[in-house]
Amino acid sequence: MPSATLLGQALISGVLAGGLYGLLAMGLSLSWGLLRLVNLSHFALAFLAAYLVYELGTNYHVEPWWSAALIVPAMFAIGVAQHWLFDKFKVNELASLLITFSFAIILEVGIQLYWTADFRRYETEYATRSLKAGPFYIPILDLTLCLVAGALAWGTWLWLRCTYVGKALRAAAEDPGIAAAYGVDHKKLAYLLSGIGAAYAGIAGTFIALIATLAPAQIWAYLGVVFAVVIIGRLGNPLGALLAGLLIGASESIAMAVLAPAWAPVVSFSVLIAILLWDPEWL
């Protein structure tokens, strides 16, 4: 039986690691839930951002936070441009999935052409610092990630929930006709939202550069788990996405602490299946 320290540490590590799932899921959840567009290229955009952070940091010694300040607006612009394409061609949910899948392939190739397929690792001092709390260690970078994700999720959630704009957006997701009744330009809002979603990919990418493996094929590594997080967290709900991310991260980590680590996916996906079958109201 694993010790309490081990379990506690696994829980802390897992919850914090789940922050990345949540952060990646948030942008996806917004565009899927509120625009009815499934953006698979979200992952490719995040990795593009990560590679840019890596490039600026390794070759030009730019601090990742300054890189992010450049990259996130650029991602916003890419998101807007993507939406222009979706809007012009009146793309539906399924077609958006396939178009962005193809777009992700193109981005993957682009990344490989410039950075090669070889593994890249951005060495920073941020990656390994920890706070000590009793017998437990809290990695500062992961904690920062969770706090940023939490702030973004909370802010976006409040914005959607409490402001006129947010209400109109949610109404438009249910029925575009109603948005017109609100007297809100739904189209402009959709561009804004698409940009925000891509900007979140940029923020997620900044953290990916600091904590994860960089290789072009890694674009697909997060797809399954983040897709699950998006749906469990309820489409269009950034706070739900983050919480679901933390839940999956924690369940994976606890499973790795108690069982053979290779069994972890069974545990986290069984948790998912159980939640779906239990079919709670909030889902």
Partner: protein, 623 residues
């Protein structure tokens, strides 16, 4: 020989030639490449059976494929089974898995598309992890070089080719058969509106399970052959997430609602992926494939096959279709209301959580009667219709039709006992033409039959061959005559089509047979609801506010129509707010208030009852 026969002959010749192609001893690469085309065609076609036809978008196709791969890999290497003997198991086990998964997830109350996609995806991960961590694989991979391959063809690659080809023909054959059968019709209806499909008599759960199991069985058998083709099996290579994504891409690009659309998509994309294999251009080639795919989806959002069909249809429309079917003459004879009780509701209660929508309603409806059901908003009228038609299960109480308890039967079985309904806001199957909508109701209403029975499906798919039945459509008595026949099994497609055309004419929709519901106005859509209900030849017809939203002339028209329906022997319960219609049409009126039967009697008396007036207009006014 007609065109149909020619194309059939062509198919037979093509199958024969392709089947014996390895005999020609082409370079093995061509056998191999064509095998991979067949492989993707089979996978994408099988995916479309459930996900394309019924709209249940699965991301778990790799799970069924992968189980098939490992069945063959394990049985041949660990248990010494001959390769061919493993294939039936490789098909059966995934089918059982699909039935198990389906039996659980299809019962979920709010199974939305994305939930189904996630569930199937999760199943893939769970199965992959189990295989990885148990002796099924264990992590080391399975090497199959020692497994003997039967010599069905002169070369080993030829043998694999032949097996792939057989599976490909089988998948296309199954898809064709499904599309041209009741099963396919039912699946297309489920795609558009599952609740309505169920209410029209489609056994939705069973059909979804059959489609799911078929889809999984094909994927599994394909996996079994593919294990032999690949030769070294690993979990990460087998359960790759890009497999389902490519399958979806191929199906959608070709046209996932057509039986051969996925095949076209699969062939095109496989060829495209092989166009850039040389070392110098591999990477750029991959990007070009991406660009081509994006362009294809943007310009052909529904897929290649529907786009071609539309284009052909446009060309054909140059010759205007002949005017067909007229409004049926209204039968003047009014049958007396018999004493026999057709619908017997006792203590019907329906609760939603804490909210009580029906609080013990007792109601008898006699055969041949028109019963008006009125009451203020929220009094439980529509809930009563939903309970009787089986959309909601009863919380307690009983509902009997003709003495048989139906209170807890699934909706499609209630429909087949002769209960039909309409919806207050019309809910046509949006991707089906008016004719197809009515044919579906005619096929599934009041009849039991095997899902593979040849039915009206061919009408739906081959819209162009209608002309030979127009004569029958002109005879308004066809449908009426048949209505009095006992339940008949195995009506032919053309009989069902005749009936459908009759009811389209009867409701005044003649000339709109080939229109999609989106092209109809509200009035026409309401009448389409009626035509669908009538085509089921109901003994009990439940009408939910058919008159709301119609202008006075249309209301008169509709009232005449309801009378005509009753004249043919149907018993009618109708919910209505328009008092003029209630009084004109009803033999009796039942008033519901707060989920309870409040008053019952002759229309004029009930409507004058001060208590009834008070619940409509407020107590003070009545006093």
């Amino acid at each position: 020989m007609n065109a149909n026969g020619l194309s059939r002959l062509g198919a037979v010749v093509a199958i024969g030639v392709l089947g014996f192609l390895p005999m020609a001893r082409l370079p093995a690469f061509y056998d191999s490449f064509l095998y991979l085309v067949f492989f993707w065609v089979s996978l994408s076609t099988s995916w479309a059976l459930l996900s394309g036809f019924a709209g249940y978008f699965s991301l778990g196709h790799a799970a069924f494929f992968g189980v098939g791969v490992y069945v063959t890999a394990d049985l041949t290497t660990k248990f010494g089974w001959p390769f061919l003997a493993t294939l039936p198991v490789a098909a059966a086990l995934p089918a059982l898995l699909a039935l198990g998964v389906g039996a659980i997830v299809f019962r979920l109350r709010r199974l939305r598309g994305e939930l189904f996609a996630l569930l199937t995806l999760s199943v893939t991960f769970v199965i992959a992890t189990i295989i990885l961590n148990t002796p099924i694989d264990g992590g080391g991979g399975i090497f199959m070089s020692a497994v003997p391959l039967p010599n069905l063809m002169p070369t080993p690659t030829g043998t694999i080719y032949l097996l792939g080809f057989i599976l490909c023909v089988a998948s296309l054959g199954i898809a064709w058969k499904v599309v041209h059968s009741r099963l396919g019709m039912g699946l297309f209806a489920i795609h558009d509106d599952e609740d309505v499909a169920e209410a029209k008599g489609v056994p939705t759960l069973r059909y979804k399970l059959i489609a799911f199991a078929l889809s999984a069985a094909i994927a599994g058998a394909v996996g079994g052959v593919h294990a032999m083709y690949v030769g070294f099996i690993t979990v990460s290579g087998t359960f790759e997430l890009t497999v389902p994504l490519y399958v979806v891409l191929m199906s959608v690009l070709g046209g996932a609602r057509s039986w051969f659309g996925p095949a076209i998509g699969a062939a095109a994309i496989t060829a495209l992926l092989y166009a850039f294999i040389s070392g110098g251009e591999a990477m750029v080639g991959r990007a070009i494939v991406g660009v081509i795919l994006i362009a294809a989806i943007l310009w052909l959002p529904d897929g290649f096959v529907p786009a071609v069909k539309q284009w052909l249809a446009k060309r054909r429309r140059a010759t205007p279709p002949p005017a067909i079917a007229e409004v049926a003459p209204v039968m003047p004879a009014i049958k007396p209301v018999s004493d026999k009780v057709l619908l017997e509701v006792r203590g019907a209660t329906k609760r939603f959580g804490g909210l009580q929508a029906l609080g013990g309603v007792d109601l008898d409806v006699r055969e041949g009667e028109i019963l008006g059901l009125v009451g203020p908003n929220g009094s439980g009228k529509t809930t009563l219709i939903n309970v009787v038609s089986g959309f909601y299960p009863l919380t307690s109480g009983s509902v009997k039709v003709d003495g048989i308890e139906i209170g807890n039967l699934p909706a499609h079985q209630i429909a087949r006992r002769g209960v039909a309904r309409t919806y207050q806001i019309p809910r046509p199957f949006v991707n089906m033409t008016v004719l197809e909508n009515v044919v579906l109701a005619a096929t599934f209403g009041m009849e039991h039959s095997s899902p593979f029975k040849w039915g009206g499906g061919s009408v739906i798919r081959d819209g162009g061959v209608m002309s030979d039945t127009f004569d029958a459509a002109h005879d308004p008595s066809v449908g009426v005559r048949r209505r009095h026949l006992p339940r008949r099994r195995g009506r032919s497609a053309s009989e069902i089509r005749d009936e459908a055309l009759h009811w389209i004419g009867f409701t005044g929709l003649a000339g709109k047979e080939e229109a999609l519901p989106a092209a109809l106005n509200l009035h026409e859509r309401k009448f389409l609801e009626l035509a669908r209900a009538l085509a089921a030849k109901p003994r009990l017809l439940l009408l939910d506010e058919v008159l709301s939203g119609l202008n006075p002339a249309e209301v008169d028209n509709a009232i005449r129509l309801v009378r005509a329906i009753r004249a043919q022997g149907a018993t009618i319960v109708f919910v209505e707010h328009l008092m003029r219609a209630v009084v004109e049409l009803s033999d009796r009126v039942a008033v519901l208030n707060e989920g309870k039967l409040f008053a019952l009697g002759a229309p004029r008396e009930v409507m004058r009852d001060p208590r009834v007036v008070s619940i409509y207009l407020g107590k003070a006014y009545a006093a």
